[in-house]
């Protein structure tokens, strides 16, 4: 199974490096949204709850762009058939695609979060970088798991651009709440406070529950 996961991840990263169809679009969307918030809120900077909300709503919408693209090559270029003909566990495709989406999100956040800090965020986030990375990582696992599940479902339909956000965004509401509440204390004007442990727990539980759910149902999504 590890061999198949590595093969799919390597292939997807290679295709993305060559075509730039997902990450650059996610990045441009995020930065454009920060600029729009800057003008729409009519504020030079944001902090606390508002800053956390703006960051996470933007990242979730950007993630949807990546989710929509996640299985396009598999659908349009026969990748599903090629994979299904191989003697490998179908779960390998789920793990590989979730890993790829996680990597795309990490690449996005490597640029988008500093851009957010420069364009919109009032307080300096640099003191709280380790805590912020922890929250981002926990949330990204959840987005990757749910995104892969929804992406595999949406790609079977003709209207994946509509179906994916309609399914993904409601499923990610608990994740958005947990991530925003966990991030909010890191963006306080008076200086970063400790991340509430219960919201980290919420994110961890979300990852676990949806991970198990995806593990149980992903095979059925590949059935004809």
């Amino acid at each position: 199974m590890r061999r198949a996961i590595a093969a799919v991840v390597r292939k997807d990263v290679l295709v993305e490096l060559r075509t730039g169809e997902a990450v650059p679009a996610m990045l441009l969307f995020s930065i454009s949204t920060f600029v729009l918030f800057h003008f729409a809120l009519d504020r030079r900077s944001v902090d606390g709850d508002l800053a956390a909300g703006v960051l996470w709503v933007t990242l979730l919408f950007a993630a949807v762009l990546g989710i929509v693209r996640l299985f396009v090559a598999e659908r349009e270029q026969g990748g599903f058939d090629g994979f299904l003909l191989a003697p490998v566990d179908r779960t390998a495709l789920f793990v590989a695609k979730a890993t790829v989406l996680f990597a795309f999100l990490a690449a996005l956040e490597l640029v988008a979060v500093p851009a957010f800090a420069i364009l919109l965020l009032g307080p300096s986030p640099w003191d709280a970088v380790p805590e912020l990375v922890l929250v981002l990582a926990l949330a990204d696992v959840g987005i990757a798991v749910v995104g892969t599940l929804v992406g595999a479902l949406g790609i079977q339909t003709r209207t994946r651009e509509v179906i994916v956000p309609i399914l993904a965004l409601p499923l990610m509401i608990p994740l958005a709440i947990g991530a925003a509440r966990a991030t909010s204390p890191l963006f306080l004007e008076a200086g970063a406070a400790a991340v509430p442990g219960r919201w980290l727990l919420v994110l961890g539980l979300y990852d676990l529950v949806f991970g198990l759910l995806a593990f149980a149902v992903f095979d059925f999504l590949l059935e004809d």
Binding site: L14, Q77, G82, L84, L85
Partner: protein, 231 residues
Amino acid sequence: MATATDGPAVALRDLGRAYGERVALAGVTLELPRGATLAVFGANGAGKTTLLRVLATLLRPHAGTAAVLGATLPREAWAVRGRIGLLGHEPLLYRDLSVRENLRFHARLHGVGEGRAAALLDAVGMARRADEPVRALSRGMAQRVAICRALLHEPELLLLDEPLANLDPGAAGAVAPLIGRESGAARVLISHDVELGLAEADVVLGLRGGRAEIVAPAGSVAVADVRELYR
């Protein structure tokens, strides 16, 4: 007790498959011994591609039974994945990857060494184009690479849908030893070239509207009988 390695290459009994209300295959019964070739004829929409996808384990049978290389589908499909080579309408290649990268990807999925891919590319005359992206290849060249992809893991059953489509005579000659009778694999061959198909076949299946109108040894089927399927 029979295992997934016993039995004929293909055994179908009253096989049926539908897409919603539309029946694509109904009541198809036949047996193909190991190492033999089944030629499938029929007009567009007769159910040929559906039959191939059922045999490839990509579609579930909706009626009857289907066994491939001794494994009953879909229950034992896992036992034959990796022993079937499918060459369909689509080459199953990623356009933005090079020829070599595509074959490397499929070789890894099948646990095959990269030397096999290099040898196949050489055999079909594509070694010099190995580093070009698939989107830059002509359809005939992509078809040659698709043949390499289908043969990487040395399958025991070859499912070939118009394998010589888009190939010039030179290329067709180059791939003949790989996908022809000399390959030693059992073959299911879809062809619209009636004479060629009959010459290659041991058993003939003629489909019309998803139903088997001809199921017979190749020696007992006349060209005119097959041509009648297209009227």
